[in-house]
């Protein structure tokens, strides 16, 4: 094998390893316990209510948080849904969504805690069914 061949394929291998070694930096996240519930359960196409319970490290409910919800399908080309979760009790928040299509959905929670800390969380809603 000629020198050029060796250099070329060496370059390809090195580039492949370099790309394969790439990963996103992991950022430390503030502790925040989020429990979620869907109604109806399992989720179906149509209106749905998502209930979120927020607690800190000691289990104390977090009140006064601002939660913006974004629901996306797992396939490109679909418009996301947006909603605001309203506080329905101490540390308990409710939001209303309307699943437009059966399949896998991903709910993104953009949480702003009372102290201004921003937290992002993701909830996978697998297999939203047809009515």
């Amino acid at each position: 094998m000629s020198y050029r061949f060796s250099v070329f394929y060496g370059f390809i291998c090195a580039a492949t390893l370099l790309i394969a070694g790439c990963s996103r930096p992991v950022e430390p996240r503030p502790f925040l316990a989020i429990e979620h519930e869907f109604s109806p359960e399992p989720a179906r196409v149509g209106p749905a209510t998502v209930t979120l319970k927020l607690a800190d490290a000691t289990g104390k409910p977090i009140t006064g948080a601002h939660i913006a919800i974004e629901a996306d399908m797992s396939h490109a080309g679909m418009s996301p849904l947006f909603a605001e979760a309203k506080e329905a009790g101490p540390g308990r928040y409710e939001a209303h969504l309307e699943f437009q299509m059966a399949g896998d959905w991903v709910i993104l929670l953009h949480v702003m805690l009372p102290d201004g800390t921003r937290v992002e969380r993701q909830i996978d809603v697998r297999g939203v069914r047809l009515n």
Binding site: S2, R4, F5, V7, F8, Y9, I12, T16, I19, C22, R24, P42, E70, D72, M73, S74, H75, A76, G77, M78, S79, P80, F82, M101, A102, G103, D104, V106, L108, R126, G127, R129, L130
Partner: protein
């Protein structure tokens, strides 16, 4: 049937429309660097997609790799094939990288004789369809980015070792898709006047232009072994325009023709041979046609019920064997049954065929398989244009978001509510494509039946018309099923 009797193939009395004669466009295509000019933007886009796929948002609807690959690229590809020709291969970014690589080194080997057919690419085509379902490529920017990287690497490795356009002709699954679909395109790279070619002694369109003293090739001839004077149709033509640049008589154009006309005839074709003797090409046409239904089936609700049922019958919870069974049924069992039955009925009803001889089943099935290609293309068009048109504008917010994530949101905040055309409008277009494909398949199979059995064409036609009808009903049924996009087929 003689090529001259097909409208659009040989029309000495009426001049076909020639894209090369369009002011501006013709100059562009004749320019030696036209191809790199078209390839460079796609290469830049590919790099952006790879980077965004690897380092951007992990959600498919927010990532350029998934949005551009699975919505826009596929949609634009099939629409350009329908309205013009195989212009994607012309602008293929993989070939640009290959060209750059070939400046550094030259391939030494010829493609192995045993692999000079479509079997390998048919296998890769099936593999892509299979991995698409198994790994839910549409929902993974990371895997989509790696698919693009793998494509670049495959091109460099294959065309690094092997001469000519081995990757395009014998390996590339996208290329094979384009070759089959472009048999239905309205344009073809073709000689303008056969007489000019008859008088030509240099044959630069296939040999390339060479420097007189050093004999070095300065302009390539066709790397896919298509000799223009005896080239018929678009099969294996990448629209690279090497022949246009090489021809010293300016005798090659991009000429209009009747779409699908090349499927109705069976002359010997340069670089290909006879369609009717190419089982590998027929297998490609089968995967193209039945794979279209299979690919759409993977996106509708009933597939989950079928998978759960198969999983129960096979006592497995993993998706691979279940998908394997579904693929085997759709791509082997169903075609063998349908085409075998139609071929058997044709032989029974028509009796003796060409030259008064009784024809074997397999050659008969091979010959008529090409008649199903329009149906398959109709289904691909309906499927891909649905995603493309319903998500047409989503590239705008995804791009805005990608730019905003770099810290310079000069395109503004992402307009996530931008999607595309309403689904009910797109559904009408989908039905139109399916009807068009059905009509095309009926026309091609009737043309073949007339050629085979001039006295009793209906007898030869009816079994194949029935196959077309079955597939068309299946396509329409699929189109009206509720879509369900899951990445976890076996759950729930």
């Amino acid at each position: 049937m003689n090529p001259s009797s097909i409208p659009g193939l040989e029309t000495p009395d009426s001049l076909p429309f020639d894209l090369m004669r369009v002011p501006g466009l013709g100059h562009l295509f004749r320019w030696r660097y036209a191809r790199p000019l078209l390839q460079i933007p796609l290469l830049i886009l590919s790099v952006v997609m790879i980077l965004h796929g690897l380092f951007g948002p992990t959600l498919a609807p927010k990532n350029l790799a998934t949005t551009l690959s699975w919505l826009h690229f596929r949609g634009v590809l099939v629409l350009v094939l329908l309205c013009a020709g195989n212009f994607f291969c012309l602008a293929c970014p993989f070939m640009l990288v290959r060209q750059w690589a070939r400046r550094v080194f030259r391939p030494r080997f010829n493609w192995p004789r045993a692999l000079r057919n479509k079997w390998l690419s048919v296998g890769l085509f099936v593999l892509i369809l299979f991995t698409y379902e198994l790994f839910d490529l549409w929902s993974s920017p990371w895997w989509t980015a790696w698919l693009i990287v793998a494509y670049f690497l495959s091109v460099l490795v294959v065309d690094g070792f092997f001469k000519h356009a081995s990757f395009c002709k014998f390996v590339c699954p996208i290329g094979q898709f384009n070759f089959v679909a472009s048999t239905l395109s309205p344009f073809e790279v073709k000689v303008r006047e056969q007489d000019v070619c008859t008088r030509c002694h240099t044959k630069d369109c296939i040999r390339g232009r060479r420097e007189p003293i050093s004999d070095l090739v300065t302009i390539r001839g066709c790397e896919l072994a298509l000799f223009q004077p005896s080239k018929v149709g678009n099969m294996d033509c990448t629209f690279c325009l090497d022949c246009v640049h090489a021809c010293p008589h300016d005798n090659i154009g991009i000429l209009s023709r009747m779409p699908a006309s090349e499927l109705m005839i069976d002359p010997i074709r340069s670089g290909i041979g006879y369609f009717s003797r190419r089982k590998d090409l027929a297998a490609l046409a089968i995967v193209f046609t039945f794979g279209a239904l299979l690919n759409a089936f993977g996106m509708v609700s009933p597939v989950y019920a079928v998978e759960r049922w198969f999983g129960g019958v096979l006592h497995v919870s993993h998706e691979t064997p279940v998908l394997g069974v579904i693929f085997t049924f759709f791509l082997i069992v169903e075609p063998v049954l349908l085409l075998g039955l139609a071929a058997w009925l044709t032989r029974a009803w028509v009796g003796k065929g060409w030259a008064g001889t009784r024809r074997a089943l397999v050659p008969l099935a091979v010959r008529y398989t090409y008649g199903l290609v329009p149906l398959g293309f109709g289904m691909w068009l309906a499927h891909y244009s649905f995603h493309f048109l319903t998500g047409l504008y989503t590239v705008i917010p995804v791009t805005q978001n990608a730019i905003a994530s770099l810290g310079r949101p000069f395109l503004g905040e992402p307009l996530w509510t931008l999607t595309g055309l309403p689904a009910n409008v797109v559904q009408i277009i989908e039905i139109g494509f399916l009807v068009l494909g059905f009509g095309g398949s009926l026309a091609v199979t009737y043309g073949l039946a007339e050629d085979d059995s001039p006295d009793r064409p209906l007898r030869a036609f009816l079994p194949w018309a029935a196959v077309c009808l079955v597939l068309w009903f299946a396509s329409m049924w699929l189109m009206f099923q509720p879509m369900e996009m899951r990445a976890t087929l076996m759950s729930g």
